[in-house]
């Protein structure tokens, strides 16, 4: 006998929740709540109701046979709405009370549309977060910057915090445009399967409790833990992805190896020869086996593309959870095996993670975690101008040489029995056979990292909890470099390099958490405590320089061995207190203070103080706002944070170096700085959050401003002063901007929902002041560019040589028919930083099928391409086809007459491009690009199908990453793939790997 049951579904604030789905368990009978959250259902006897709504965790409610009325309170799904968020030091807070902006990232896709480095999964998802990746292939690092660059020459990367404990994100070898090999970073050590949520603290107010580490914002990563449940939960996630190079360069297929348009030269590194018409020409290279042979001088249109193979990435992860009221555990293991598009660039990674939480007594609880990572990366790619950068050589391959021929990259010299390189221009300074570099310049890296924490909470009274936590992060990186004998000019006699780095960071925290209610309306949430930070770093490296016996890679086979060991230690102590005064959950006044003492500063400046204040008001709770406005909050804050310095800057040091009969002593080139002060950043922000139409429309708008003063930067001195550089405290860099996130639910029905998320940010960076001594500071230089900080302009101004122009802006041409260029690298090309970045995510789901895609854009700024400068001079691209028989450079002669002097494309490009003095102006492009960053199509098998099986969830997804450019203004390359993750490499492209498009499949099982 049916009876009518009425009910109400309330949201977390007790307000009626419209549109919630109410279903009688085990049946198909159900309904939706109305605009007030009410529903009516007919049912028979006792039943269980399943109530679900987007943005809330589903709830089951028992309805006994005699009940006719039921009220259900729903809890917000933290991951979707971020109502309870993790803040600095791992303290969770009610989002409503925050006086600063945070953004919770939806990490659902991170394990599916997997990136080897979690940093790259963040791209396009967070307002105000700028990510560029180094062109190192598999195993590379990325640069993660929030709200623009504050520090002119030191670190600008966000602090990475895992479960309340910072982990080290030092990049020891940031490569620059001059070349190098990037190392690992912190985010690549984090297993996406273990991530529960990521909260982004963008500004200094949010991170003020981290004191002198806080200036750059923070990413707070919360990892999974066990839960109280019946039996053991098992989840298996498997991903396979394949990636292919996207060829953006347009190579020419008309003219072959040689010069002057008519000369075929078997030892030329240029493609300025005659037309390739299948002529038989002398075989190149010193390999005696090829002596007297000829081959057809024909085009090889796909040589660049075919050089790269299909990269693959396989990740399998299993996690177990179990728990009762007392103890909960979470264990996971992930195995990742990846191969880059350069087939011997490989990564193998094992992540082990064990989390134990325990309620020991009603007052004492324990939380602890240990994570172990073992990673092996082979042949992380060299970047930039480095002669050992493979890209340099494959891009320069003369068009008439086939890959098949180039694969004949070595031979045994019959006279000496030596293994030698086979290359068209033997002994070249700058050229190598790409296959030789791939196979005979070997880099092997391993990383073992262990990090974790133990934490005890003791509830002293019902309003005061004492918490002690020890967090530890240690990793050992090992490197082995094997350079075979006859690697031209950089290792003619071979080299063997080893490196061993041991880095550790210990954080000890002790703090009290206060949560006290005063009457019904007023409560105080506070923290008081202290932190001790110890960082120790040891680096040990050896260089053989040359090998006695060819290709015997042991350190004792050195001809000129150099061993270097450095030890770096820093200590920091801080005490802090914070308090939120909250009235009726509607009005919050916050204040915090921290004082730090750093070992790297001189005694008189060792102690420094950082306060912050803020306020938040929930307008919908304070005032009677129109019905359509479901939530509105305004907030504002002010904070002072800082940055201490590297160690050992205060006193003169001398280095002892092997040499001569009794050794050399040299005075180190940095002038001591006994008066060093910490950097200070003041930050203000205001924001407005609002939700409309029952939370179907929501936005969060933030305006911020920060000024970073007292910056510690290194300025070059004339070396004749006795020192090559010195540190000064000066400068004032302002970042101000706007961040907007918009969340829409255009459609929400029982079977179909569509979520639309948009983020947009615009940052205006300006160097307001450098120092009284200098108005511009060169922060990097390479063959083509200078990167400068200049008063009145954004950081990262790129300068190069440019064309000389007359008063009307016309290019001046010399009597030889070639343009006249400026003598110095002093022509401004633009700023390397984007004007705005943004992303749009659409998530559509229909029954068990869900589809999402992320489009992201990075608009504004310029990028210069050293690659194009070199390869245009080599004559390998389509751009060099025009004018081979003769051309006239558009422009005017010195007397103002229109230039009519003939030249050739070969002369023009060799003059304008090339390695040593390229005219950067000719190779500068807008860095604006918009791309289809990610697409996933998933299917979750309905409960009705698997209901009787042991599985609780089976879902299958097809994923695609970096699928295509919707717009790319750069010519022949991806402007986000830069030489390295150093501050200065943004905007400088130099022999980067081609970007890759990846497609994969992901299977998730849980039972």
């Amino acid at each position: 006998q049916d009876r009518q049951v009425t009910g109400k579904v309330n949201d977390e604030n007790g307000a009626g929740l419209p549109g919630a789905n109410v279903l009688i368990k085990g049946t198909t009978r159900g309904t939706n709540t109305d605009a007030e959250g009410n529903f009516t259902l007919n049912m028979n006897g006792a039943a269980t109701l399943i109530i679900s709504s987007v943005g809330y965790t589903s709830k089951e409610v028992e309805v006994s046979a005699n009940m006719t009325n039921v009220t259900v309170g729903m809890d917000a799904d933290v991951r979707n709405l971020g109502e309870v968020v993790v803040t600095a030091l791992g303290i969770t807070k009610d989002q409503k009370t925050l006086s600063y902006a945070t953004q919770m990232i939806n990490t659902d896709n991170f394990a599916k549309a997997r990136e080897l480095n979690v940093a790259n999964s963040l791209s396009g998802r967070v307002a105000g977060l700028d990510i560029v990746r180094s062109s190192s292939g598999v195993g590379g690092s990325s640069r993660v910057v929030l709200r623009g660059d504050r520090s002119i020459t030191t670190n600008n990367q966000a602090l990475i915090v895992v479960d309340g404990v910072p982990i080290d994100n030092t990049n020891f070898t940031p490569a620059n445009a001059n070349g190098g090999r990037e190392g690992s970073d912190a985010l690549s050590s984090i297993n996406p399967d273990d991530i529960e949520s990521i909260n982004v603290l963008r500004g200094a107010s949010a991170t003020a409790l981290y004191g002198s580490r806080a200036a750059n914002g923070a990413l707070l990563i919360t990892t999974k833990k066990g839960a109280v449940r019946k039996g053991i939960g098992v989840s298996i996630n498997s991903t396979f992805q394949a990636e292919r190079a996207m060829v953006l360069q347009n190579f020419q297929n008309v003219y072959g190896q040689g010069v002057d348009g008519d000369k075929i030269q078997p030892n030329s590194e240029f493609s300025w020869g005659p037309k390739m018409e299948g002529q038989q020409v002398t075989a190149w290279g010193p390999d005696p086996a090829n002596k007297g042979k000829t081959y057809a001088y024909s085009p090889n249109p796909d040589s660049y593309k075919d050089f790269y193979s299909t990269g693959t990435s396989i990740a399998n992860s299993a996690s177990l959870t179990a728990g009762n009221e007392k103890v909960q555990t979470y264990f996971s293991y992930t195995n990742t095996a990846a191969k880059g598009i350069v087939s011997n660039n490989k990564l193998g990674r094992h992540n082990f993670n064990l989390r134990l939480t325990s309620q020991i007594t009603s007052k004492l609880s324990f939380d602890g975690k240990v994570t172990y990572l073992n990673e092996k990366v082979d042949n992380r790619q060299q970047t930039g101008e480095a002669f050992a950068n493979l890209q340099r050589h494959i891009l320069r391959l003369p068009r008439s040489i086939s890959l098949e021929q180039a694969k004949d990259f070595e031979y045994i010299d019959p006279a000496t029995g030596k293994l030698l390189q086979n290359y068209w221009n033997p002994g070249s300074n700058g050229g190598q056979n790409p296959y030789w570099i791939k196979n005979r310049v070997i880099a092997l890296n391993t990383r073992d990292r262990i990090y974790g924490f133990t934490q005890l909470n003791y509830k002293l009274t019902n309003w005061f909890t004492l918490m002690g936590r020890a967090g530890y992060d240690k990793y050992i990186d090992k490197f082995e470099g094997k350079w075979y004998t006859n690697t031209y000019t950089i290792a003619d006699f071979g080299d063997y390099q080893t490196q061993w780095r041991d880095n550790s960071e210990l954080n000890l925290d002790l703090f009290g958490l206060i949560s006290k209610q005063f009457g019904g309306d007023f409560r105080v949430e506070g923290t008081i405590g202290g932190n001790i930070l110890k960082r120790d770093f040891i680096n040990h490296e050896t260089l053989n320089n040359q090998l006695n016996r060819d290709n015997l890679f042991v350190t004792t086979n050195a001809r000129n061995s150099v061993t270097n060991r450095t030890v770096t230690q820093t200590r920091k102590q801080g005490i802090f207190a914070s308090a939120d005064f909250i009235w009726r959950d509607a009005l919050t006044i916050s204040a915090s203070a921290r004082n730090d003492w750093s070992s790297t500063l001189p005694k008189e400046n060792q102690s420094y103080f950082f306060p912050s204040v803020g306020a938040a008001a929930v307008l919908t709770s304070l005032f009677n706002l129109p019905q359509g406005i479901s939530f509105a909050k305004i907030r504002g804050s002010y904070a002072l944070t800082g940055n201490d310095a590297e160690p050992y800057l205060l006193a003169q040091t001398y280095s002892y170096i092997a040499g001569g009969n009794t050794g050399y002593i040299v005075r180190d080139a940095t002038k001591p700085f006994p008066g060093l002060k910490p950097e200070l950043t003041t930050a203000q922000e205001v924001g407005l959050e609002a939700k409309f139409l029952n939370n179907r429309i929501g936005f969060d708008l933030t305006l911020y401003n920060s000024n970073s003063k007292n910056q510690l930067f290194r300025v070059n001195l004339s070396p004749a002063s006795g020192w090559s550089n010195e540190y000064i405290n000066a400068g004032n860099v302002r970042n101000r901007g706007i961040e907007l996130t918009l969340n829409l639910v255009p459609v929400r029905t029982e079977n179909f929902s569509w979520n639309f998320d948009l983020n947009y940010s615009r940052n205006e960076n300006e160097v307001l002041k450098l120092s009284d001594r200098l108005a511009t500071l060169t922060i990097a230089s390479d063959f083509m560019n200078f990167v400068r900080a200049e008063e009145g302009k954004p950081l990262g101004q790129i300068y190069s040589r440019g064309f000389q122009r007359d008063a009307q802006g016309r290019v001046l041409v010399g009597t030889n028919g070639l343009p006249l260029v400026t003598s110095g690298t002093d022509v401004p090309l633009g700023t390397s930083r984007p004007t705005w970045t943004g992303g749009i995510t659409n998530r559509l789901s229909y029954k068990g099928v869900n589809f999402s895609f992320l489009v992201s854009g990075r608009i504004g700024g310029v990028v210069t391409s050293f690659t194009n400068a070199v390869i245009y001079a080599d004559g390998v691209t389509e751009e060099t086809l025009e004018g081979r028989a003769g051309m006239v450079v558009p422009g005017v002669q010195a007397d103002g007459s229109v230039n009519t002097v003939q030249t050739t494309a070969e002369k023009y490009w060799k003059f304008v491009g090339g390695r040593n003095t390229p005219i950067g102006e000719a190779f500068t492009y807008s860095a604006s690009n918009i791309r289809m960053r990610e697409m996933t199509l998933g299917y979750t098998i309905p409960q009705s199908v698997i209901g009787k099986s042991p599985f609780q969830n089976i879902s299958l997804s097809l994923v695609g990453r970096n699928l295509f450019f919707i717009m790319n203004k750069a010519k022949g390359f991806d402007p986000e793939l830069v030489a390295g993750s150093a501050n200065t490499t943004v905007g400088l492209e130099s022999f980067s790997l081609p970007p890759t498009r990846s497609i994969g499949v992901n299977l998730n099982l849980s039972f």
């Binding site: 070249s428 003492w597 040091t653 040499g659 070059n716 004339s718 070396p719 090559s724």
Partner: protein, 492 residues
């Protein structure tokens, strides 16, 4: 508890103080680094090509076409001022009067070395930071070349005089990589260097040059190869030239080929190696374009590399040449031509110079030496891409014609000073000898292919860090900051 912060912030892998022993190690570093720190960017890519000892074969290099490549000159500058000079500053401060480890002997030797290491630098740029070096910045004034040269003379004289008190003893001992502390040889070195410097200024300050040259010779200059100055090398501090030859960037010049072949000079095989797989020596012209360098006949494997002693395999064994006794004879020959009291005739010194140079390379056979000295053959024309004519028409046999004598002396000095390119380039600028070839091409409008590059422009790094001083230096230079502006001593 911040009590241990100072200790924590002390670098454990560095020294924090220059003690007395450390001062000696710093002197050793100053000796080596002033040679090695920027050998390629300072000497090899400019002076060695301008003096036409060598020609460039690296296709992407342009300095052989007179391009004053900014990054290289920057490297040349900072290699010297950034690494050699600070080491020497420490020595001078500590051993000088009032210094922590005051020692007049060490101070004198360090000062003599200072002059040696600064000389080629002022001969590149003209005015350079000298007297105010080590002032801590931010501005470091440049001294005029005249002031620097005059200080060189005083410093050498004062230092040689100070060393008289230590005659027969050793100072610095084995720390000194040149003479193992032999004071007597340092005195000869100082006097010979003073003779070289006096000669360099003989056009601009003839009277002072004469007085100083005569005074130097009277005080005693190099007379035998036992006095030759070489910097010892070993596995930890190797010969930078040998290191650089691994890169295959330069080969024998056409000028060297024309002269050595024309004179059937036995030093050919001491200086250079035959083309691989042949017994023929082949040089190439300076200033080819990239395309011309790409021609097989101009390839590194088709032209003469340096002799084995200059190759990387023996970079820890071949000592680096600093100054030879033969040079002292050629300087005295030129002085005698000018009528200076050099203690002999131009002809005798010329022939003695050749003999000393030959003996230095192990050619001691008297007949061979006199056969060469009396040789009447002349440099030859080359059958190369540029159809290069003979370099000159002078034989070795000392001419009766005073107009030819200077060319002969400087040509032989050029041969003898090999591979000391910066001295050869300076003397070529001063005398116009030997008659080197015009470049095949120049990409520098200030110094076209048939012009002599007279200096190197001030470096970019200085324009950024020491701009006002550079502006003042251009005034002291007395002409535009170009490769065509003559230095103080360089008079037409």
């Amino acid at each position: 508890c911040t009590g241990d912060f100072e200790e924590i912030n002390t670098n454990k892998t560095k020294l924090t103080e220059l003690d007395e022993l450390g001062t000696e190690n710093a002197f050793a570093a100053a000796q080596y680094r002033s040679i090695q720190a920027s050998w390629q960017t300072f000497q090899s890519l400019f002076a060695d090509l301008q003096s036409q000892y060598f020609a460039n074969v690296a296709q992407n290099f342009s300095s052989d076409r007179n391009v004053m490549v900014g990054n290289w000159l920057n490297g040349a500058w900072s290699g010297f001022y950034g690494t050699a000079v600070p080491a020497l500053i420490g020595v001078l401060e500590n051993t000088g009067p009032g210094g922590k480890y005051a020692n007049p002997g060490k101070f004198a030797i360090a000062n003599i070395w200072k002059v040696y290491m600064y000389l080629p630098r002022t001969d590149y740029w003209g005015p350079i930071p000298y007297s105010q070096v080590g002032n801590g910045g931010p501005e470091v004034p440049y001294d005029s070349q005249e002031a620097i040269y005059k200080d060189f003379l005083t410093t050498l004289k004062t230092s040689a005089d100070a060393l008289q008190a230590f005659k027969g003893t050793k100072i610095f001992g084995t720390v000194d990589q040149i003479y193992a502390g032999d004071v007597d040889k340092w005195i000869l070195f100082a006097n010979t260097l003073r003779l070289r410097i006096a000669m360099r200024m003989s056009k601009v300050e003839p009277a002072l040059a004469k007085t100083e040259a005569e005074s130097a010779v009277a005080a005693g200059v190099f007379t035998t190869n036992a006095h030759d100055a070489f910097l010892a090398v070993n596995a930890n501090s190797f010969n930078p030239m040998n290191q650089a030859t691994a890169w295959n960037e330069f080969r024998m010049s056409a000028a060297m080929e024309s002269v050595l072949k024309g004179y059937s000079d036995p030093r050919m095989s001491r200086y250079f190696a035959p083309v691989p797989g042949t017994s023929n020596f082949k040089g190439l012209r300076n200033g080819y374009t990239q395309g011309e360098l790409g021609a097989p006949e101009n390839n590194a494997s088709a032209t003469s590399n340096v002799a084995d002693r200059f190759l990387p395999a023996v970079q820890n064994a071949t000592p680096f040449a600093i100054m030879y006794a033969s040079e002292a004879y050629f300087l005295r020959a030129e002085g005698a031509l000018k009528g200076w009291a050099m203690g002999g005739t131009a002809k005798d010194f010329y022939e003695k110079g050749i003999e000393t140079a030959f003996k230095q390379w192990g050619i001691a056979d008297a007949a061979a030496i006199s056969g060469y000295t009396n040789g009447t053959t002349t440099p030859i024309a080359l059958n190369d891409m540029a159809k290069t004519p003979a370099l000159s028409d002078i034989p070795v046999k000392f001419s009766a014609d005073p107009a030819k004598q200077l060319e002969q002396i400087i040509t032989q000095k050029w041969l003898a000073n090999y591979p000391n390119g910066h001295e050869a380039w300076a003397e070529y600028r001063r005398t116009g000898y030997p008659k080197l070839y015009a470049r095949i091409n120049s990409d520098n409008p200030d110094s076209p292919k048939d012009a002599v590059v007279r200096r190197t422009p001030f470096v970019l790094g200085e324009q950024q860090t020491n701009a006002k001083a550079v502006t003042d230096a251009i005034v002291k230079l007395g002409g535009p900051d170009k490769s065509s502006t003559r230095l103080w001593w360089d008079k037409p």
